[in-house]
């Protein structure tokens, strides 16, 4: 048996995969959050960042495919493990079992499934920018000028997108679930990969708690600030009007708000 086979065919091997792919996704989440928090700066900041990512297609697609592989492996291992686990107890107890198990640990698969649905929505919403799912209009029509070039206006897209109440709610619910998933998953990952002993366990727990709370706060503060019109409301006022008009007749190129644009 080669090593791939040995990992895939064993229960512990699958847990290593869950842990490793989960860890990779958490690292991505931290980086992604750092990127997104730039929405609190001037519009040029996040637009410039988005433009930078787009200008490195190799890097961008490498990361995208890598992430997709991680999500895919994470989900496939989760499902095969869940099958193994339910087969291991054909007859359930009449009384409440799972004494001493935390709520999060009992519902990792349902929480993960909703997170997966959110990932699909999120990609359709902002990455593919499908007008059908955002409740506003065609995001691809939002452009701005940066260093004399016409580039997608990611800042306006985020603000207009998350000002929609139900969209904002979807994002917040997903963050809540992700927080619970990681509340259990992050520390459990260290266990699965064998990094735990009586000295390190309290430290790992603390790290897991701090990280999952930081991710929850970081990711939730963006939709909340946008929904409360704290961020970018003046900037998108004109764009909003233009976006509505744009869906009817061909777009009169988006004018940037005077005074807020970089030279």
């Amino acid at each position: 048996m080669n090593i791939v086979d040995r990992i895939w065919k064993s229960s512990l091997g699958k847990k290593y995969l869950m842990g490793l792919t989960g860890a990779a996704l958490v690292v991505f989440l931290i980086g992604h959050l750092a990127g997104n928090l730039q929405v609190f700066g001037p519009p040029e900041l996040i637009n410039g960042y988005a433009y930078f990512l787009k200008s490195k297609p190799g890097l961008l697609w490498g990361a995208r495919l890598g992430l997709l592989a991680c999500v895919g492996l994470h989900i496939v291992s989760a499902i095969t493990l869940a099958q193994l686990n339910s087969a291991a107890r054909p007859q359930a107890y009449a009384t409440n079992g799972a004494h001493g198990a935390s709520t999060a640990s009992k519902y990792m698969l349902p929480m993960g499934s909703i997170i997966a649905a959110f990932i699909v929505y999120h990609l359709a919403h902002f990455t593919a920018a499908l007008p059908a799912v955002n409740g506003v209009g065609d995001f691809t029509k939002l452009t701005t000028t940066l260093h004399g070039e016409t580039v997608p206006d990611v800042y306006a897209m985020m603000v207009l997108g998350l000002q929609v109440p139900w969209v904002c709610l979807i994002y917040l619910v997903a963050q809540g679930l992700l927080f619970m998933h990681l509340g259990h998953g992050l520390s459990s990952m260290f266990q699965s990969l064998g990094f735990r002993d009586h000295v390190w366990w309290p430290r790992i727990r603390l790290f897991a708690q701090v990280t999952s709370i930081a991710l929850l706060v970081g990711y939730s503060v963006i939709p909340i600030a946008i929904y409360l019109r704290v961020v970018g409301n003046d900037y998108v006022e004109k764009k909003k009007y233009a976006l509505k008009a744009a869906t009817k007749k061909p777009a009169p190129a988006f004018v940037t708000v005077p005074g807020k644009e970089a030279k």
């Binding site: 064993s10 512990l12 091997g13 686990n85 087969a87 291991a88 799972a98 198990a101 259990h184």
Partner: protein
């Protein structure tokens, strides 16, 4: 005191089972849970009914034979105590107590509350041993063992192999048992030669028996009568990971001296 028992009764594996209610006669509060069952069984036998089958042996919390899921918790309401060490004074007069067998595919039911836990023996056979030379016992201190290592190994060696970890786990996983067995030998200098082969062999046998995987819920640790720590599962995961990377030992072509 008197209690009402709701007990799982099942004649054998091929006959479907069901809960049956049994009223106990007057009990002494200082009876153990198993003595209470003895009294109920005596009453049943006197009436010409089939007594409740349940597992027990030492009745002093050291052999790991007693089992039972009492009101949803393996080994009853206490922490760090076996069923045989649980006393009726823990319950109140008139309580209804639900008693179920340990439930897992790898622990097939034999009768009523008795399940077959030989899967654990087969896991032990797959690596739960060390190689020692026969002959006179070696001098006690010929192999130095650091105190801390000895203590950890003793913590793991506390496992009495009762299977409560499997019974409690939502995945019916045997990780805590297997981890305890792998660790108590793997920690000691005497256990080093077979360390990785042991981890590989025992985990693979565990998978073959049809136990579930670990979701780190902590149920096993919470019900373990010997309070074995989840830390040992991490240790097992480490050893098994190393074993996976090493792969199976290649057969030596020319053969050794032995």
């Amino acid at each position: 005191m008197k209690v009402t028992l709701k007990v799982w009764r099942q004649k054998n594996r091929s006959t479907p089972g069901a809960f049956k209610t049994h009223e106990t006669p007057e009990l002494n509060v200082n009876m153990s849970f198993l003595e209470m069952l003895d009294v109920v069984n005596e009453q049943l036998a006197n009436r010409g009914e089939e007594p409740i089958a349940f597992d027990h042996d030492c009745r002093e919390g050291i052999c790991g034979t007693c089992s039972l899921v009492i009101d949803g918790k393996p080994h009853g309401p206490h922490k760090g105590i076996t069923t045989c060490q649980t006393y009726m004074r823990t319950f109140n007069d008139g309580d209804e107590i639900v008693i179920e067998p340990f439930r897992a595919k790898a622990f097939p039911l034999i009768k009523d509350l008795v399940v077959d836990r030989k899967a654990f023996d087969r896991i032990q056979h797959a690596g739960g041993y060390i190689t020692v030379r026969t002959g006179a016992a070696p001098d006690a201190n010929s192999v130095p063992v650091p105190k801390q290592t000895a203590d950890f190994a003793m913590d793991a060696a506390q496992c009495i192999g009762c299977g409560a970890c499997v019974a409690a786990c939502k995945n019916a996983s045997a990780m805590l048992f297997v981890a305890a067995k792998i660790s108590h030998l793997g920690l000691m200098p005497q256990g080093q030669p077979e360390r990785y082969r042991r981890a590989k062999g025992m985990v693979d046998q565990m998978d073959k028996e049809g136990f579930g995987a670990c979701t780190v819920t902590g149920s096993c640790e919470a019900v373990c009568p010997k309070e074995i720590s989840l830390d040992f599962i991490a240790r097992m995961n480490r050893d098994y990971g190393v074993a996976l990377l090493k792969g199976d030992a290649k057969a030596v072509k020319s053969g050794g001296a032995g």
